[in-house]
Structures are given as C-alpha cells and as structure tokens.
Symmetry: C2
Subunit: 341 residues, 2 copies
C-alpha cells in the first residue's frame, strides 16, 4: 500500500510538484482551475501529506510532550484528560511520560522529548527535583515550556496552578470558625512545593485566630502510601493525644483523609462529633465515603486545559519568532463542606 505523494499527483496532472503543493496549501498564486483539479484529484486518491517529511521541512512536529509524576491518580488523570482533549482540538498530539516522582527519570524524559523534537513541553515536577538545569536546557534550546501544579519559581516560564496556601488557610479557618481548636495537620513531604504551601496556610490560619502552633499535632507522610499513612497516623494520633484533646484533622489529600476516616470508623470514633476530618482535592470518592468528606475543591480538568492553552499560544509565538512573556495563572479553589466537619 504505497502512500500517494505530491509527486504522484503532479505527474497525473502533468504539472509540477510545487504547484500541487501550493494548490493544496491554498496559496493565492495558483489559478482557480488548477487548484480545483489538484484538490479533486487529491480527494479522489485519498491523498494525505506525509507528515514526517513535512515535519522535517518545517521543523515542527505538531506534537507536545507531557510529563506527569503519576498517571494513576485521580487528580492527574483528570489533568491529562484536559490536556489531551484540548490539544486534539488544535491538531496536536500528546506524548505522555511518567516521571514516577523520580528526578533522574524526569531528566531523561526531558531529553527524550527534546530528541523527539516536540513543539512544546508541559511538566509537573517530581517531588525530588531540586536541581533545574534540565529545565533550563529545554528553554535554551528554545522549546516552549509550561509548568502545571508542581512548579518551581526557579524557572522563568509560564505556570498554571492553584494557591495551595490560600486553599489550606480557608479550610483550616473554616474549621476554627466552626469551633474546632485542636487541629492536627496530616501532611505530605514538605519538599514538595504544594504541600509546604498547604502547611503555611495551616499555620497562617492558626496564627490569625491566635491558636498556638503545636508541633505534636503535625504528622508527615514521606512515602507514597497515603491511605495507609492516614490510617496508621490516625491511630498514632489517638495514642499520642487521646481523642478528647484533638477535635479535627486537616489532611492535605483526600486519600489521606479517607485513610483517617477509615481508622476512626472502625474504632468507634465518630466523625465529626468526636473528631472532624477535612480533605483536599475533591476526589470522586470523597462524596462516597461515610460520612461524606469535606474537602477543598481543586480544578483538575480546567488546570490541564489552561496549561495546554498557554503552551499552544507560546508555540505560536515561538514559531513567529516573537517574544514569550511568561504568565502565572492561579486557578480558583473552593470549599466543599459535607458531613465530616
């Protein structure tokens, strides 16, 4: 099944390849008659241009690379969904790579994308990433780069994210206003930009309401097993403080919060009467668990969509050799108050 080429069309019509090319690309300097002839024949023979040849010629691949720490994750899979759908609308294909939150892998994958000559790159950083040379390299080569969710201020590029600090602040403030005073913080690695900001939001709320910060109420999960971390540390929390001296848990992810709830549920500690639980992310499951989880509603599909939109704009600018002005987009979050608080 040999593919039809411009050359084939040209010989059949007894005209030159360049005229055929121009006709198909709608250039003005082709007579209406020949244009029609070319287009008709192309349709008849089901001609599709060889995209690889075109790529070589134009130095564009109409392909973008996306790096994500984990695919199997309600938040990220929604982001990916947003990215892919929008990209397709604009005729771009998405190459998806998973860094596994591993710095070395992330670095290697950026190199792969560079070699692949993608037109642009979207990345959410691995937790481990503290060195940014690999990202600078992308920029030096001149490939538009946009970060989403897990970003770093060390790199001057466009970013799409939420205000983690503010979101956490609002959640914890809500708890305090509701009368909760001894609020445990169930966090994840402070090395990660998002989580350290959520921690700051927690502290800010305490400060503002003049509640002393109590270090013994802080629990940090350093690995990825959030559910069990939530479950086990809920147990530890009760051991450490008894359930009379703690009246709420603010968890930085819904999965942690669900783990916490599971422990309380199976140990006759009632939510929210004995202890309230607040999550983060509005995962589908948070409505499903009993009692339904109060949580921070975080836009995920929207985030992916916005990120790719900006990237595509920058790709366009880049191809027109115009200056790119990095922008930082902060998407709105809100609180979903349900039964657990």
């Amino acid at each position: 099944m040999p593919q039809i080429t411009l050359h084939d069309l040209a010989t059949k019509l007894n005209i030159s390849v360049s005229t055929v090319s121009k006709a198909l690309k709608g250039y003005s300097d082709v007579s209406a008659k020949t244009r029609k002839a070319v287009i008709d024949l192309a349709k008849e023979l089901n001609f599709t241009p060889n995209i690889v040849a075109s790529n070589l010629r134009t130095q564009q691949t109409h392909t973008i690379g996306v790096i994500v720490p984990t695919i199997v994750h309600h938040f990220f899979s929604n982001v990916i969904n947003g990215i892919i759908k929008e990209a397709e609308k604009s005729g771009y294909m998405v190459i998806l790579l998973q860094s596994n939150d591993n710095y070395e892998l992330e670095k290697k994958q950026l190199d792969l994308l560079i070699k692949q000559q993608v037109d642009g790159i979207l990345i959410s950083l691995s937790v481990e990433t503290t060195n940014f040379e690999h990202l600078e390299k992308v920029q030096q080569i001149g490939i538009p780069l946009v970060m989403y969710d897990k970003i770093s201020d060390a790199i001057d590029c466009s970013k799409v994210l939420i205000d983690d600090k503010k979101a956490a602040y609002e959640a914890v403030s809500y708890l305090i206003r509701k009368g909760y005073k001894n609020i445990a913080y169930f966090g994840a690695s402070l090395q990660a930009h998002n989580f350290s900001n959520r921690f700051l939001g927690y502290k800010q709320a305490l400060e503002e309401f003049r509640i002393p910060f109590d270090d013994s109420l802080i629990y940090i999960c350093e690995n990825n097993d959030e559910y069990n971390y939530g479950y086990n540390n809920a147990e530890q929390l009760i051991k450490d403080h008894g359930f009379k001296n703690v009246d709420a848990v603010f968890a930085v992810t819904d999965v942690i919060a669900v783990g916490v709830s599971k422990f309380f549920n199976t140990h006759s500690i009632s939510i929210p009467q004995d202890i309230a639980v607040f999550g983060f992310s509005n995962w589908f499951m948070s409505t499903v668990v009993t009692p339904a989880l109060s949580t921070v509603n975080q836009p995920n599909y929207e985030l992916g969509k916005k990120a790719i939109e900006i990237l595509l704009e920058e790709i366009t600018l880049n191809e027109a050799k115009k200056e790119i002005t990095p922008q930082k987009i902060i998407l709105e979050t809100s609180l979903n108050i349900r039964e657990s608080t």
Copy 2:
C-alpha cells in the same frame, strides 16, 4: 541553538558524511581509528541525530498510538501506566488518545494515528463500535494492531484480555456456595463485549446450580454514571423485592458495587448479613469502603504490559517483512474475598 548535524561532524573531521553516519551506527566497514574519532567528537559536541530526518528515511517513527475509552478510570489509568513504562524501556514513545466511548471519535483518531505514521496501534474499543472498517483500514495499510480489554472478534489481530465470563461465573458460584440464592445482577451495557460476557457468566453459574434465572433481578446501567446507578438501583431493588427476597448483589464494576454499598449503609441494610455485595476489578477503593468489598481481581498493569509487548514484537516482525500470527492472550483473574460477602 542550531543542532549539530552529521555534516558538521564530517567537516570538522574532514571526512565524509556517510562515513560519519556509518561510524556512529557501528558499521563494520569503518576503521577503528576514524570510528573512535567520530564517536569522541560526537560526544564532545553533544551530537544527537535528528530523529525526524531519520524517521523520514527509515519510515519508522518509534512512536505508538494508544486509544483508550476513558483516561479517568482506575482500570485504564493502570493499563496506560503499564503501556507507557514498557514502551519507554524499548525506546518507544506513546501518543495517547481518548475515544470517549464514541465511535466517530475513535474512527477519527485512528486516522490521526495513521497520518502520524505511528509504528503500531493499541486500542480498547469504544462501546459504540459495531462497525470495524476503520480497524480493517489500519491493517490494510500494514500497521500492526493489538486490541486490549475491549476487543472484537470481527478483527483478526492480537488481543489481550481477561475471561470475563469465567471471572463472573467464579464470583457468582462463590456466592451460591456461600448460601446466597437470590442474587441480583447489576450490569452495564450489554452492547459491550466485556459486560455481556459477565452476564453470561452470571447465568452459567445459576444454571449450573439449578437456580432459576429471574429477569426481575437484572438491572442494567446504560450511561456512565455508575456510582449513582448503583446507588439508585439498590433503592429500586429494595422497592421491587424487599430486602428479605434478595440476599446478594453481583455488580459488574466496583464503582457500581460501591454505590450499592453506600445505599445499603445509609439505609440500615447490613452487608453482608442482610445482603451481600460483590464487585469487579479490585479498585483501590474496594479495600477502603466499609465493609471492604469482595471483588474480582483483574490484572491491569499487566494487561497493558502484555499488550505493548506483543505489539512491539509485531512491529519488529513487520519491519522484517515477516508474517504476523495473531495471538489471543487471556490473563488470569482471581477472587478477593473480603467483608462484603
């Protein structure tokens, strides 16, 4: 930042482009000395071959296309994960597309992948797909095609899947042996290959144990809102039969089962004392809900991994102009018995 080319290396070394190319590709007819010189210089200048030019020349893109009905789904995101990780190991990049269970979109996306000249395609069919010309087209063009999970026997290509009928049969048999007799079936669209087979498995188990099939115990969800379907039809089930005349629910997905459980939990129907609940797929959440859900354990990462392995084999055969013999791989499932039965 102009990329280094073979030509650059050649002029710097005062040798020809073809020699440089051969040296880098390890051809035997290059003296050890020049080979070393070339390789050293390439390393020094950080030369990376232009992959697009190479693609044009070799007619391979080292890219594979993956079509999935839904990305945001615990099962599929795990499959995707398996695919991507394995592909990367072999130096292949994955272009991911979501059909949204829409036939027209699926067709369009296959065309996109053809145009993109991917070396192979992995597809899980949309529920709507009953016409298979678009898949035949892929085969005619000569692009290796492998189906996973949602397959069709109408196309003669390799397939990787589980035995849905057997899995359902085993689950329902287990329930019957445990003493449950009035087992409701909570299914999804019978148009889908998987679900119709699960239904057959259900019926087979009843037959074998001489339990009469009761049409009024069959509930089918035609849309995608599985959770609410489970919840609402649990309600309907109780209305229709009362909870004395039904003692178990076999749901064809965990999400449905979780919806069912939620209804029972919030209406003082105890699981499994009043009614048992069995799910399908071993979603992470099935361990988390209370009571923990018994379910069919379905390999997901493995399925993706196996599918891409076969595809890569076929790509290799294809490039060597060798015959491809389609194979059908059935992966093993098992039962995870937990608290809900």
